[in-house]
Amino acid sequence: MNPDAPELDQREPLVELRAISKRYGNVLANDDVSVSFRAGEIHVIVGENGAGKSTLMGILSGAVTPDSGAIAIDGAEIHLRGSRDATLHGIGMVHQHFQLVSVFTVAENTALGFEHKKRFKTLDLDASKFEVRRVSEEFGLALDADAVVGTLPVGLQQRVEIVKILMRDPRILIFDEPTAVLTAEESDKLLAVLRRLRDDGRAIVFITHKLREALAVGDRITVLRRGQVVGRADPKSATTESLGAMMVGRNLRVVERAPSESVAAEARETVISVRELSYAARTPTGASVDSLTFDVARGEVLGIVGVDGNGQDELTGLLAGELKPDAGTIALLGRDMAGRDVRTFLEAGVGIIPADRQRHGLAMSMSLARNLILDRRHEPRFLRAGGLLLDDRAITANAEETITRFDVRAGGPGVPVSSLSGGNQQKIVIARELERDIALLIASQPTRGLDVGSIEYVHSRIVEVAERGCAVVLVTSELDEALALSDRIAPIYEGRIVGVQQRPFDREQLGLMIGGG
């Protein structure tokens, strides 16, 4: 492998990050990082969860103050005192977690902080709307300037973020994992926008965990690990394998269920049996579920694949007891679960990995240790004084054990879980559910936003839990993930399961079914 890719040209860099270091408690998020970005290039940054990518970009965009190091634009050092400063220096960032006000319209959101003023300093929204239209036409990012942001699907919300930043005409554009929340089609469109912005002569920084994208769109790749630059790769010669290995520091294996594991699934005991399950959408952005019927047996993985928003969230809500079906039945190990609440589902042995880990999987302001017992708080091993008090010593010990076993990168059991990187937050959710005594695991988008190493890890845990005899419902938008792990695949489209496939799967056909074909 070639750690130092040949220079594309000898032009001076537009931005330089010089020896940046940033420490959070006992985590060194950035450790003497130096990188430079050139105009007219897409510079991809890859690295494990918690490698310090977002921190580094936060520093470049003025949101995070580095402990040491400097930023130079056109060779001159600049001092950023906040994101506004960065904007004024022509730096714009599309964040991993959107920075939008959901009750504001698109135009209001884009105006925020840089409002157009009329006479007497009243807000000139028409000017903002005009700007939104101009930018969205110029870059082919269609948007309704009057739409309320909260009612838009994720892909469009991201578009608002992008338009908002393009309105300030930045020279340096940072995209922090923009494709994590997008469908394959939306991602392709976004990558086309990136190329176009590059060809305009801007410097693009693009963070992704999808190595294929990195290779497809990057002009230059920098790999971070544990806060340090561990290498650079040339997209022309690198492969996803070589890049993955560079990221995690070892060779990765592809986790795939051996076909032998899935034989005779029918002979085993049925864990969950769903009949004619229906649920009508309650909100404008919600979806419906339309008479779903399926069984999952012990040791079996049922993959439910589909593009987001086709009823997956509603289905998982129903399977967890969070939503009450309008019609149909759910039986768990022969027991009718109609009308039961989440607590009963949990007690009946259901483990839930929710798609939105920050809202449904974790209490963000609570400590890592306490998050590991959210739904295990009734277990006697975590209680004392006759079940009245939490046994913090046992809870901390449990957290320490999990941190080692699952290789969680965090400051310790006591840190708030909000300080963890996305991938490490997901590890907390998964560790918690897998350590419970469960008969059915509902895993919804379990690897969204995770690095290749963590994906390998999560996949192997899911296979392992199935081998132990647990039934698994894997809800995912990644066809590859479903193909690798499932015994059967049920594509879902507009709330309906459109034909179940057994191994060996027909990838092409599944792809069509997901699209409604």
């Binding site: 806060g227 949990l346 999987g361 209490a363 959210l374 008090l389 939490l390």
Partner: protein
């Protein structure tokens, strides 16, 4: 491939001595927008803003401003005098005067010591119901219950405690007091039951329901002490019957020092609150529901039940505050009972950031402002209302930590989501 062990580079410049590093670390702490720091700066702002109000409200210093240009020194000294006497009175009124303390030390006697400690005793007595009711409210707030109903719960607790207190003349002291306190707990819980059930059954906003309930209970109280067996038919103005001596919270340090067993009740409540909110399983569920409703649902917290539970526990504790006030200091129901404490308790919970230790300190601060304010009026001629101004200004600054951080150039904490109170929330997804 480039890899290697993680090398931890020291981030502080080499050559700094241990002491310098410690001083700079301490300075960093002071300059960061932690809650305690924001509080101290809010207090400072309150004192500064109030200083202006004081000098302009006292005629002597106000008229001195007329000569600002001709006699600047005189203006300055007149204002300094006013401030010194006002804030001096506030402090001696709340903590006792140095003169009395030195007399007590040189001529040690029970009476002298009692005189010296008396002001602080009053401060403590004023702080006790605030601490109890503030803690009660914090239970609600941390559970996502935005209850404004302290007044109604205080009244209910006080009414039941008072009833027990003026009846049962044959009961010995310990069971009588205990029964009175239990009655107060029940009363508070009953007052909370109404909004809790309404919210759980119909989704009615607890903010509105509790506010209305405050008015209703205020009216009920006046009815009770005017027209029923609660009334003491002596005066023309309505008053409740006097608590029997056997039900009064005993004075801890003899008859001359006004410190009663309410202090012990408050200490137990604060400790219990700390156990409940920080250490217990129930408190964990409360907090989970309050901070992360989505995650609490998936974790199987039964939301309505938990909501009702948190509301009842909170109401019971607030009601206990009302009982302690009746059995400890005022000894009879009055028509305005619960109004002041009910509002201040919300402030105390807020300023104390819903943490037991914070609530204790906030209650003490407000006790100081209350008793000291009286002295300020009596001694320095500054209106009692001014201590309310100080209170209000502190809260004003506390509600805007970003403003305080800006004025005093505090550095934002990494990862700080200065947690704010949760306004009402519905049951929907």
């Amino acid at each position: 491939m480039a890899s290697g062990p993680v090398v931890e580079t020291p981030t502080l410049a080499a050559g700094q001595t241990g002491l310098r590093r410690r001083v700079s670390a301490a300075f960093t702490t002071i300059r960061s927008a932690r809650p305690a720091v924001v509080f101290l700066f809010s207090l400072l702002s309150g004192i500064i803003v109030s200083a202006f109000v004081i000098v302009f409200s006292v005629p002597a210093s106000r008229s001195a401003w007329g000569g600002l240009f001709s006699h600047p020194a005189k203006t300055f000294s007149a204002n300094a005098d006013t401030l010194a006497s006002a804030y001096g009175a506030l402090l001696t009124g709340a903590f006792g005067s140095p003169g009395l303390f030195s007399t007590a030390i040189t001529h040690a006697s029970v009476a002298n010591w009692a005189a010296a400690i008396k002001p602080f005793g009053s401060t403590l007595t004023a702080a006790v119901p605030l601490a109890i009711a503030g803690l009660g409210l914090s239970i609600a707030y941390r559970s996502g219950v935005f209850s404004i109903g302290a007044q109604s719960q205080l009244i209910c607790g006080a009414v039941l405690a008072s009833w027990v207190g003026f009846s049962l003349p044959t009961l010995p002291m310990v069971p009588h007091v205990a029964l009175g306190l239990v009655a107060a707990l029940i009363g508070g819980a009953l007052a909370a039951l109404v909004p809790a059930i309404l919210k759980a059954r119909t989704g009615a906003s607890e903010v509105i329901v509790t506010i209305m309930l405050n008015y209703i209970m205020g009216g009920v109280l006046i009815y009770l002490i005017s027209d029923t067996f609660f009334s003491q038919q002596v005066n023309t103005s309505p008053e409740g019957r006097l608590t029997l001596p056997s039900a009064m919270l005993p004075l801890l340090f003899g008859n001359n020092i006004p410190i009663d067993a309410g202090v012990i009740v408050a200490a137990v409540v604060l400790l219990g609150g700390w156990l409940l909110l920080g250490r217990s399983r129930l408190g964990f569920e409360f907090e989970l529901q309050g901070t992360s409703p989505g995650a609490s649902r998936i974790a199987g917290v039964r939301q309505k039940r938990t909501f009702v539970m948190a509301f009842l526990v909170s109401g019971a504790v607030v009601g206990l505050g009302g009982g302690v006030e009746i059995l400890g200091s005022v000894h009879q129901l009055q028509s305005t009972f619960g109004g002041d404490i009910g509002v201040l308790a919300i402030t105390v919970a807020f300023v104390g950031r819903n943490r037991p230790l914070g609530i204790m300190l906030a209650a003490l601060l407000y006790g100081v402002l209350q008793t000291g304010g009286l002295q300020m009026q009596g001694q320095a001629g500054v209106s009692y209302q001014l201590s309310n101004v100080i209170e209000a200004v502190i809260v004003l600054f506390m509600t805007a930590p970003a403003l305080v951080a800006e004025i005093y150039r505090l550095r934002p904490l990494a990862n700080s989501s200065l947690r704010s109170l949760n306004m009402s929330r519905g049951w929907g997804r």
